[in-house]
């Protein structure tokens, strides 16, 4: 067994919180630049330039890209040959988020109770997903998930006889309903299969893929490309003011499912796509 102190997980999460929120990942910047070169609307180009310039200012001044520094979503792939020493894994993650949001001057946007809505004051608890995998490493992914785009997400359970076009229409309707509110250009995570909760989880996990990287399956890869084209033909454009750049990527994740169901979930992320990961 490889021993890893819980403190190391806390430190890593802390750094990821700050890094993701202030330093827009290269793949997102590259996709924005590529879109700027192709965008047909002049207002659209102007907004894309503002977004790219904002990323430069945020990096230079170590300021958050967006005032909504998100709900902290942490994905851990824990090698089964790792033993965590000290605190419990979950506490170590929450502590990392607490320290990162404090040290990075990030906004605390979590309420203790969904109805009473008192702020917890330290952006915890985080949402934590753990998968046990072979090996002796720990992969930690951090996604700062803003509320505006998250609110535009949707899940529907289709009939097994449903064809792809019907699922496409659901995805397109979701993006259309999101419109300007989700801060386009967006990233669209699609989870298909599994059950109610798995579809939603897959949609979120799909967002963590690098922009421009496709599903390894040939059919899913084609589907992603076709959907991206269809979404960009909607004409919503940057900030919903019209244009050819509505989405930067469509990422699909699939999973086997029950003979009687076909769940599909769409999770949307804004252009301030703050995901970073590291391996311990």
């Amino acid at each position: 067994m490889r021993e890893v102190p819980a403190k190391e997980i806390t430190e890593t999460v802390k750094d990821l919180c700050i890094e993701a929120n202030t330093n827009l990942a290269e793949d997102v910047v590259a996709a924005l630049n590529k879109s700027l070169a192709k965008e047909k609307s002049s207002v659209g180009r102007k907004i894309l330039r503002q977004i790219i310039q904002n990323a430069q200012i945020a990096r230079r001044d170590k300021l958050p890209l967006c005032q909504d520094t998100g709900l902290a979503v942490v994905f851990i792939e824990l090698g089964q040959e790792v033993q965590i020493i000290g605190e419990a894994l979950e506490s170590a993650v929450h502590e990392g988020v607490r320290q990162g949001y404090e040290a990075g001057f990030l906004r605390k946007s979590v309420t203790e109770d969904p109805i009473l809505r008192k702020n917890t004051g330290d952006n915890t608890p985080a949402i934590l997903h753990v998968e046990i995998v072979p090996g002796a490493k720990i992969k930690i992914g951090f996604l700062a998930k803003g509320g505006g785009a998250e609110n535009c997400s949707a899940l529907r359970i289709f009939n097994p006889s449903t064809d792809r076009e019907e699922i496409d229409n659901f995805i397109l309707e979701t993006v259309e309903a999101a419109g300007p509110n989700a801060c386009p250009p967006i990233i669209v995570g699609v989870g298909i299969g599994g059950n109610f909760d798995t579809a939603a989880y897959l949609a979120k996990k799909a967002l963590c893929r690098k922009v421009g990287a496709h599903n390894s399956g040939h059919a899913a890869q084609q589907w992603e490309k076709e959907l991206l084209k269809k979404i960009n033909l909607l004409g919503i454009g940057p900030m919903g003011l019209g244009g050819t750049t509505t989405a930067l990527a469509v990422n699909i994740e699939k999973r086997p499912c029950h003979i009687s169901s076909l769940p599909a979930a769409v999770n949307i992320d804004c252009h301030a796509h703050r995901f970073k990961e590291t391996i311990i």
């Binding site: 200012i57 801060c183 919903g240």
Partner: protein, 170 residues
């Protein structure tokens, strides 16, 4: 433009127009709107209201990052506030039909600012003071002093809607 805003200026602002704001504006969002009722903690006459709550202020800075949140969530509270005299709202996203009707009735304007460019926008803030509801933490009401803060007219006082126009132009 600069608050207090009068009906004459409101009438001049046309959908799609780019404007620069200087002077005093107020920042408030969801929880503060719930507490406002008919008594917002500032003089609403001719006021500019920005749907926003910034990140914490780093040492030596005026403010953290600040940008618009989705205005749509403030729709249920908006007609009452426009009736009290608020003239300009700044946010992102669509507004409801009832807000558009109130915009026409009370002569107001809705401006949009791109979301997610909050580091850049923070450079336009010259002063920031918490004026109410400190218990709300990041959702407290702020009085901000801004300089050349850029925005786009999304719904003008005639009810012309930039998002609708962009949609029908597709």
């Amino acid at each position: 433009m600069r608050a207090p805003i009068d009906d004459k200026l409101v009438a001049k602002l046309k959908v799609g127009e780019e404007v620069l704001i200087s002077g005093k504006i107020f920042a408030a969002r969801d929880s503060a709107h719930k507490l406002f009722g008919k008594n917002p903690p500032f003089d609403p006459k001719g006021a500019i209201l920005f749907y926003a709550s910034p990140t914490p202020t780093p040492p030596g800075a005026i403010i953290g990052s600040i940008g618009p949140t989705t205005a749509t969530r403030m729709d249920p509270f908006t007609p009452d506030l426009l009736k009290l005299g608020i003239k300009i709202m700044i946010g992102k996203g669509r507004r409801s039909e009832s807000v558009k009707a109130a915009i026409r009735k009370y002569k107001a304007v809705y401006l949009v600012v791109p979301g997610g460019v909050a580091a850049a926008l923070s450079k336009h803030i010259k002063k920031s003071t918490v004026i109410a509801y400190p218990q709300l933490g990041p959702e407290a009401v702020l009085e901000l002093e801004v300089a050349n803060f850029p925005a786009i007219v999304a719904i003008d006082s005639q009810g012309n809607d930039l998002f609708e126009q962009a949609r029908s132009a597709r």
